[in-house]
């Protein structure tokens, strides 16, 4: 629960770890499973999530502050999908360098509850700076988890990292498949549940 007394830093850190959208609420699970085949893909999709969260929270909090109204979901969805479409015109080079399913996952962000969660739950009811810290925590938290999963998958699945050879062979090629994403995400969640249970 968000308390009015929470500082901006507390909002940021809470979403980064204890209320992480992948490990806590599960909103980003689809990205963790399908969008972490390579580090590049994870960085690209995580970066887009961060950008969209900041954009939606900025719009929602600015409209909330100026007009004391909450931006309805559907206009926000259409605005986000328009933004994604326009951005994709400049990103065709990036798509060709990333795994095949990146384009579908990118388009799916327009319908992902992850992208609208902060703007619909908090941003419309708070100041612009607090909303941006909250969205940044959620986005950076998602990005970190995606990068961690992708790092393990890429090293285990391909035996290389950022062009450098870590293993001369592929230690576990299964990690290149969707099953690798499912296994890694499941393991992450178990570790998170164990860490949370100890507190």
């Amino acid at each position: 629960m968000r308390l009015p007394s929470e500082s901006k830093q507390q909002l940021f850190l809470k979403n980064l770890w204890s209320e992480n959208p992948v490990t806590f609420s599960g909103l980003g699970i689809f990205l963790a499973v399908a969008g972490t085949a390579t580090l590049g893909q994870a960085f690209f999709l995580g970066g887009m999530v961060l950008l969209l969260l900041l954009f939606n929270s900025l719009v929602s909090s600015a409209v909330g502050e100026l007009f004391q109204i909450r931006v309805p979901l559907w206009p926000q969805v259409i605005l986000t999908s328009l933004m994604l479409s326009i951005l994709s015109l400049f990103l065709s080079g990036a798509f060709s360098a990333l795994p095949d399913n990146t384009r579908i996952l990118y388009a799916l962000l327009a319908a992902s509850p992850l992208v609208y969660s902060r703007s619909q739950l908090l941003s419309y009811n708070t100041t612009v700076d607090r909303a941006l810290f909250d969205a940044a925590g959620t986005g950076v938290g998602t990005l970190f988890v995606l990068l961690f999963i992708a790092l393990v998958r890429q090293v285990a699945g391909q035996g290389s990292l950022a062009g450098l050879t870590v293993f001369p062979f592929s230690p576990w090629p299964l990690f290149n498949t969707t099953l690798g994403g499912i296994i890694m995400t499941g393991t992450m969640l178990v570790i998170f549940n164990l860490a949370r249970g100890k507190k």
Partner: protein, 189 residues
């Protein structure tokens, strides 16, 4: 003569299941697979939504987006279809409250968009092929959801570990199903 139709159905069934094969697991599916009954009704509604949305997307693609060459704006147009589809489903499902009460779980119809995008990635050229691909995808969704709910029920009672409850068990069940679907796909290939 019937080979292309059979291939379309099998492609939808085994290669284009958005829940398992691409790992596109919407949060709602995790919630809906906690009990067999809910999984069945949610699966039926999902099947209906995927079919309707897939059909509308295919028509939109071939009769508006391709002729007008506005591929860049396909996504906003697909998103515009969603409120209409939601409204239509609410009206259509009034006589079936068991199905209607699952409608809010289709938050933004994430699953429908996933299936439409998969379909449009390499769109079937004819209406018949498209319908069969969609039928395959929908059947595969329904079957996988029911199987996941059964697997979860067994796994959650068999493993008494608390940290495995919820998402990890769901992912474990999805992983098992993914292997099964891959096996079937290999056999068909």
């Amino acid at each position: 003569m019937t080979a292309p139709y059979a291939i379309s159905f099998l492609t939808g069934l085994l290669a284009l299941n958005p829940v398992i094969n691409l790992g596109l697991i919407p949060t709602a599916v995790q919630g809906a697979s906690r009990s067999h009954r809910q999984a069945f009704f949610y699966g039926l509604l999902g099947t209906l939504t995927m079919m309707l949305y897939g059909l509308l997307s295919w028509l939109l693609h071939f009769y508006l987006i391709v002729p007008l060459r506005i591929a860049a704006f396909e996504l906003p147009l697909l998103m515009l279809l969603m409120p209409g589809l939601n409204w239509a489903l609410t009206v259509m499902l009034k006589p079936w409250p068991r199905l209607e009460q699952n409608l809010p779980l289709f938050y933004l119809n994430f699953l429908a968009l996933a299936s439409a995008l998969l379909l449009l990635q390499s769109p079937p050229a004819s209406f018949g092929l498209m319908t069969l691909t969609l039928l395959g995808m929908s059947a595969s969704f329904l079957v996988s959801l029911i199987l996941i709910s059964h697997l979860r029920a067994r796994l959650e009672t068999a493993l008494f570990l608390k940290p495995l409850k919820g998402w990890p068990t769901f992912l474990l069940a999805s992983g098992i199903l993914w292997i099964a679907f891959q096996g079937l796909l290999m056999m068909v290939k």
